[in-house]
Amino acid sequence: MISRSEIKSYLSKEPLFDDMTCSLKATTRQPAAMIKETRKIIELARRFNKEVIEPYALELDRTMQKDPDYLPWEFVKKANEWGFFTLWIPKIFGGHGYNIPSLSYFMEETGSACLGLSNLICVHYLAVSTIFASWNLSLISKLCRLVAQGEKTGVPCLLSTAITEPGAGTDVEEVELVDRGKVACSATKVEGGYLINGSKVFISSGHVSQWHMVICYTDLKKPSENMIILAVETGSKGFSFGRVEHKMGVKGCPASELIFDNCFVPDDLVLLSRDHTGKQKRGVKETCGQILDYVLASSRAGVSAWGAGAARGAYETALDFALTTEVNGKTLANHEWAQSMLAEMYKNVCIARLTYIETNYANGMYGLFKTIQMKPLFYYFKYMPMILLDKFAPMILNLASTTWLFRKIQLDWQSDPEFHRTAGWGSLAKFTGTDMGMKNCQMALEIMGQSGLRQDRRAEKILRDSKLLQIFEGTNQLNRLNLFKCLVAKNNPMIKVFEKE
């Protein structure tokens, strides 16, 4: 009917068949055990919601309004007890090794109960994916094992990522923009390490984290080619916390200022520097862009899941109100206009969910989770006894050649279309999911009238919380442009993105 070469040629026209069909491909490739794992994770999340988050969320939000400098240590300890800070760390690094896409479902579930508390658990994994994207295996192993130890001892060891600066928000999320931005956090090479100077702001979970993955620049004039990622421990000399931001929502999770004043970081805590990126196939700038996109393609799926969670929280709150309120002598849920609005809200939740799921399929086949979801590796790590992993893994991981190999596979072997696909879908999911979250909150408040306005009825809190999602991990505006760059403009030489007007 149609020849093989014809099929190939037609499918390589826009839109690329592979851009369109991530789930279709994934259903044949990803390990079937992921279904069961995901089911377990959702069950766990729902139990945690019921036992821990739901009784606590409104109270904490209230406390934070009274005392904005309060730090929710108690909750962090609780989450640590439940094992949430190691659940998605691969077994070879001392974690429980659950598949990473299931983290997104977890974020939706916990996010639907409280975005602030969900943030406290999950921004930790933003830092985890940042260190993973550097593929510096010995350091990954070191840090992850500290987290695992924290779980055993009951003294939480959380990680945070520090990117945003006072003068540069959107700029630092995009390699194309960073050279035009006003970055100020510098790392100066000294003997045996680097000295960091400058400050970072809006760092989620900063005050409650033990380690901070700090992105800074060895040359502030050309940041795109001089990016360096350094791990800094709380308590290091020259490092201190500044203020906790007083936010509109997501109050449960502190947004911290980190201040560096000649803070020394030894060479063996350098996750990634020009020395490493220079060795890869792509140029330094492109490799930095690729690493950033690796992180963002997975973290943005997560933010999208939070958007789905917010959308769902708002929907469930409104549905509950509609089921229990009489309007004009009839249960509100039996008014057609309300059914129609609730259906629209249900749909918004589903759409948000579909976008993050699809993005994770892309990440599993072409992005950050590619290696780990390869069936043989997946099952090998799943069934390998922990004791063997603990014994042998560090030895292998500490070999420089292992890092080299992983970087080869993940950085050099990722083709441009693959990298565009994951980054573009990450952006698509991010702005879609979070817009849906916001939209549902607005609708919930419309439906609920005065009940929607009261903190003790939850809807207004979700609205305050969900607005943040449209802003962090790159504003939704930036994400639209990134989608355009990755999935529409691609390599069309006529189209310029992020160009000065």
Binding site: H335, E336, W337, Q339, S340
Partner: protein, 419 residues
Amino acid sequence: MLSEKETTIIALEEDVVEFTETKPTPPAPKKEAKSVDVKDVKIAAKKTAPRTSKKELTMLAKAASEFAKKMLAPNREENDKYPFGPFFEDALEKAFGVDFFHIILPEDMNGMNQGMSALSVTLDNICQEDSSLGGILFTNAAAQELMIQAGSKAELERICSKETVRDFLIALPVFNNPSEVKHLAQAKKTGDAYTLSGSLEYMVLGDLAGQAIIPASIAGSTRYSYFLVDLKDKGISKSEPILSLGLHACPAVDLELNHVKATLIGQEGKGSDYFEKMADRLHVAAASMALGVMKGSFKEAFDYAKKREQGGHEIINWSEVKMILSNMAIKISNAEMIIEKACKAVDTLEAKWETRSRAAALHIQDMACDLTTDGIQLLGGVGYMKDFGQEKRFRDAKHIQALLGITPIKKITFIENMI
């Protein structure tokens, strides 16, 4: 005075009735009878110029509404077939006869010397029934306004003394702002005379009007100028009427120009100034076209919802249907208030009148696009068919949104004017 006005309306109505009744074989236009009416309308208007009193607006609204109901509504589906069906020549001539094309012209050109309030109220009422004629009125008014802004009084006067509607009409590419997308002809100057060559896209009324206003660039200049050309000129070749989304009976053509004699309008290089000044005023008129379409769509949906039964009762009893109708009615009520205020601002040159006019258009055109899609939705399958006019209103609303340029650019210009 009042009785005089009433007579005018009655005379107008009678005339329309008579005209409609004899429609199958329209007689030669009765010049004398018409000119009486025209004079009366003019007299009524003249006395309060330049500002129109509320009563006069009501009167004009009533006249336009009666006209639209009798001359446009009955043949709406038929008229919409153009260019594959006949053109509504009768309605056009009749509208010309009752001076709808003279509203903004100064008195010394036999005009009503009225402002945007009067033009808007007319367009609103016409567009409730059929916005194609509204499009013709709008385009022609825009062209007149452009010439007034450019100070081409003599030229305009010459045109306005023409006796037949086709000779009188002026074509203008009214859906494009030439400084945004450069659809321009090339002008060549020899001595004091100009000739135009090149092609020009989407000339509205190009196959109808006696003359056209054409934006063109003169070699060596980065800015464009406006020229008036006679559309009968041998150097002009016109395409077939362009099949378009909406406003089918307000047709446009593509022009090819080959050394066409042209008269400069205003000064060289000032085209964009004239366009923007014209657009400042005419935006509110475009908004009132959208309003008219909204009203028509709402009325049709409202009537239908009261009659149509599904699930054993009239669909208006479904609360979701009520909700949709209510959203439509709210939009209309807001649009009315906005337009009234904006027209007043334009006519009395209140502070920021230009902003008011443009803001009204951008917002109301958006609303009209939302409203008309609901207007179809409430009629379900039949809303999509030609029978009820809802599908036409949906198309027209979107079409009207494109008046005077690309919508997002109009929005960007709006904020840039404030920066």
